[in-house]
Amino acid sequence: MNELMPEHFMFLSAALFIIGMVGVLTRRNVLVIFMCVELMLTAVNISFIGFAWEFSQLTGQIFALFIIAIAAAEAVIGLGIIMALTRQRDTVDIDEVRELRQ
């Protein structure tokens, strides 16, 4: 492969998305899980920007811009919830948060 192909960034995106997903599946620290979700969103951004590059469009770039903005909002809410959690109970281990079940 002599040129930069769309497959390149698609695989990068897929890899980062999967890594993020696996992180969400395996980690127990709520903050790390949160970081993994951010990683997944970044992977999505790579896809969008890559597709935009491939099509010579800007639509994908702008979509990615909005994803970053929304991710920031999500981060603020998420950290707020985590703060409230630690205020109630001194833990960030999601396995300890299981009063509601069955």
Binding site: L25, T26, R28, I94, D95, R98, Q102
Partner: protein, 630 residues
């Protein structure tokens, strides 16, 4: 004209909703004016409708909306007015209006007044929709709705245990009839593939004779419940636990006549089955006779009027069964006025006597409440069939109808019943208003009711006198020609004037003899009622105990039902149901408990479920649903 037809039922509904929503906090007593004005507007709007029908002889209808639009089962809600409906519109909204006005006085100071004035227009709305319906399903819905309103109003004073149980009794007994009615409508749909009047009546002959008979009888089952015929009339006297205006409007003038209305409405079906008509005639006659005999023995003034209502409904029923269709509707109209009058008069007496209902504790009230006395006397005379009041014309015509319908036995029963009618009616009048004062004059100070209550009495009394003339001369009056298009193909036998006069004479003699006997008994005191009752012995006891109907029901129906339910509970529930539960039921419960375990409370597992679901779905669809392996 037809464009604002919908306002007639809508206004009372709006009043009901407004009073229900805002009555408690904002309106209180103002609710009575909203309700009364709405019903008055309905009445005023009904007049031009009636006039148009009378002049054009064309039925009018207004399509409102499609209730159930999807599929083959397309049910429109359409208002439909023909001569029969127009008559009922006037009766319902007219008597309804008077009862509303009367209630303003009667319910004065009741803390639940906003409830009363939201139920009452709701009833008027339901009743109007019932008569305006153009298909059996809408009819059935509002048939149930009037039953519900009746339930709410009988139990209006729900803290009174007797009121609550009377309401329950009315509701349950009516369910029995409604069950048959519902099946009848289902059968109509199955047989004719439609439930719209026009569609059904146009193809009545397509069904077999047996089917027609069964449909007619099932429809009559509903009427038995709602119009208090034998053997289901036991609920109506108990229903007197409700406020008196309710008894006047619902349990005398309008709702109880719904059964009669439905049979008349289903004329094209019912008239095709001689068997069904015979059954209707027999049940009607039996009801009329039995209720009249019971009425003679009652002491509660409202109960007397209530049994009288049952008896008069019986008159209407056997008139229908004998083929005197127009006479039945005629009697329905006149009865609405004089029976409404009697109930309101009784209510006025009760009001003036401080909630006393026992006639043995009354007497001599004539001088305390003259207006009530005179109007009540007119109502009683009309009910007893004294010439020339309204009841005379309609009742005479019914009896004549049984003769013309070739039902001589029923005619004889009718004459006897008419005698009893006169007996109980004048007994009530004399016991209440004449003779010595049997109440404790120091405790009770009888007084005339306020004007807002007496004015409706006067208006009703006026109609009780005059309304009979719309059916004069008999068999050939204005009313007969008006209603004729509703009953196409009905025979019009020529009646000689001599026959008419003969029947009128017999009726008058019977009515006057009842009057004379009671006059001698309670005013002149030359006959001892006690002596007569002792003379009759067991017969009197039979009537006084209401023919032991409640007891018979207890033995025949209630106890077996209880036993049966015990059986169900002991055997079926414990053995069969539990057995099934141990089978299917516990399987579901077991599954439920197993599946529930999936909800571990661990976020990790939840994420895992999402990821696994996504992976499986994507994998399966990629293998089976994509062009990958094509």
């Amino acid at each position: 004209m037809s464009s604002w037809l919908f306002l007639i039922p809508l206004l009372p509904l709006a009043a009901a909703v407004i009073n229900f929503l805002f009555g408690r906090w904002f309106l209180q007593h103002a609710s009575q004016w909203i309700a009364t004005l709405a019903v008055a507007a309905s009445f005023v709007l009904s007049i031009p409708v009636f006039l148009q029908i009378a002049s054009d002889e064309q039925s009018i209808s207004q399509h409102l909306y499609t209730w159930i639009p999807a599929g083959d089962f397309n049910i429109p809600v359409t208002l439909f007015v023909d001569q029969l409906t127009a008559t009922m519109l006037l009766v319902v909204s007219g008597v309804g209006l008077l009862v509303h006005i009367y209630s303003i006085g009667y319910m004065h100071g009741d803390p639940g007044i906003y409830r009363f004035f939201s139920y009452l227009p709701l009833f008027v709305f339901s009743m109007l929709m019932l008569v305006l319906a153009d298909n059996f399903l809408v009819l059935f819905v509002f048939w149930e709705a009037v039953g519900l309103c009746s339930f709410l109003l009988i139990g209006f004073w729900y803290r009174r245990r007797s009121a609550a149980s009377a309401a329950k009794k009315a509701f349950i007994v009516n369910r029995v009839g409604d069950f048959g009615f519902g099946i009848g409508i289902l059968l109509i749909f199955v047989t004719y593939g439609t439930i719209e009047y026009a569609g059904v009546f146009g193809q009545v002959g397509d069904a077999t004779q047996t089917t027609i008979t069964v449909i007619a009888l099932l429809l009559f089952t509903g009427a038995i419940g709602k119009s208090a015929q034998l053997p289901l009339f036991v609920w109506l006297p108990d229903a007197m636990e409700g406020p008196t205006p309710v008894s006047a409007l619902i349990h005398a003038a309008t709702m109880v006549t719904a059964g009669i209305f439905v049979i008349a409405r289903a004329y094209p079906i019912v008239s095709q089955s001689a068997d069904a008509m015979l059954v209707i005639a027999i049940i009607g006659a039996a009801t009329a006779f039995i209720a009249a005999t019971i009425a003679v023995t009652q002491y509660d003034i409202k109960k007397v009027v209530a049994y009288s209502t049952v008896s008069q409904l019986g008159f209407m029923a056997f008139a229908l069964g004998s083929g005197a269709w127009i006479a039945a509707i005629f009697h329905l109209v006149t009865h609405a006025f004089f029976k409404g009058l009697l109930f309101l008069g009784a209510g006025s007496v009760i009001h003036g006597m401080h909630e006393e209902q026992d006639m043995r504790k009354m007497g001599g009230l004539k001088k305390y409440m003259p207006l009530t006395y005179w109007t009540f006397l007119i109502g009683a005379a009309a009910n007893a069939g004294i010439i020339p009041l309204a009841g005379f014309w309609s009742k005479d015509e019914i009896i004549l109808g049984t003769w013309l319908g070739d039902q001589p036995i029923i005619m004889v029963v009718a004459f006897i019943t008419a005698f009893f009618t006169s007996l109980y009616m004048f007994r009530a009048v004399f016991m209440t208003f004449h003779g010595e004062e049997r109440f404790d004059a120091e405790q009770v100070h009888p007084h005339e009711s306020p004007r807002v209550m007496t004015i409706p009495l006067v208006v009703l009394a006026f109609f009780a006198v005059t309304v009979g003339f719309i059916g004069f001369p008999p068999e050939d009056g204005w009313f007969h020609h008006f209603l004729d298009p509703v009953f196409p193909g009905m025979p019009h036998p020529d009646v000689a004037w001599s026959t008419i006069v003969l029947f009128a004479a017999i009726s008058t003699v019977i009515a006057l003899s009842g009057l004379y006997i009671q006059y001698m008994a309670y005013v002149k005191r030359s006959i001892s009622p006690r002596g007569i009752s002792e003379l009759l012995g067991p017969l009197y006891k039979l009537a006084a105990n209401r023919w032991y109907l409640d007891e018979i029901y207890d033995v025949l129906i209630v106890r077996p039902l209880v036993a049966f339910s015990m059986f169900l509970w002991r055997f079926v529930d414990a053995q069969v149901i539990d057995g099934t539960v141990n089978g299917v039921g516990s399987l579901v419960t077991y599954t439920s408990n197993q599946w529930r375990r999936a909800q571990t409370g661990l976020i990790a597992n939840y994420v895992f479920a999402i990821a696994l679901g996504a992976v499986i779905i994507i994998g399966a669809f990629m293998i089976f649903g994509s062009n990958l392996f094509e």
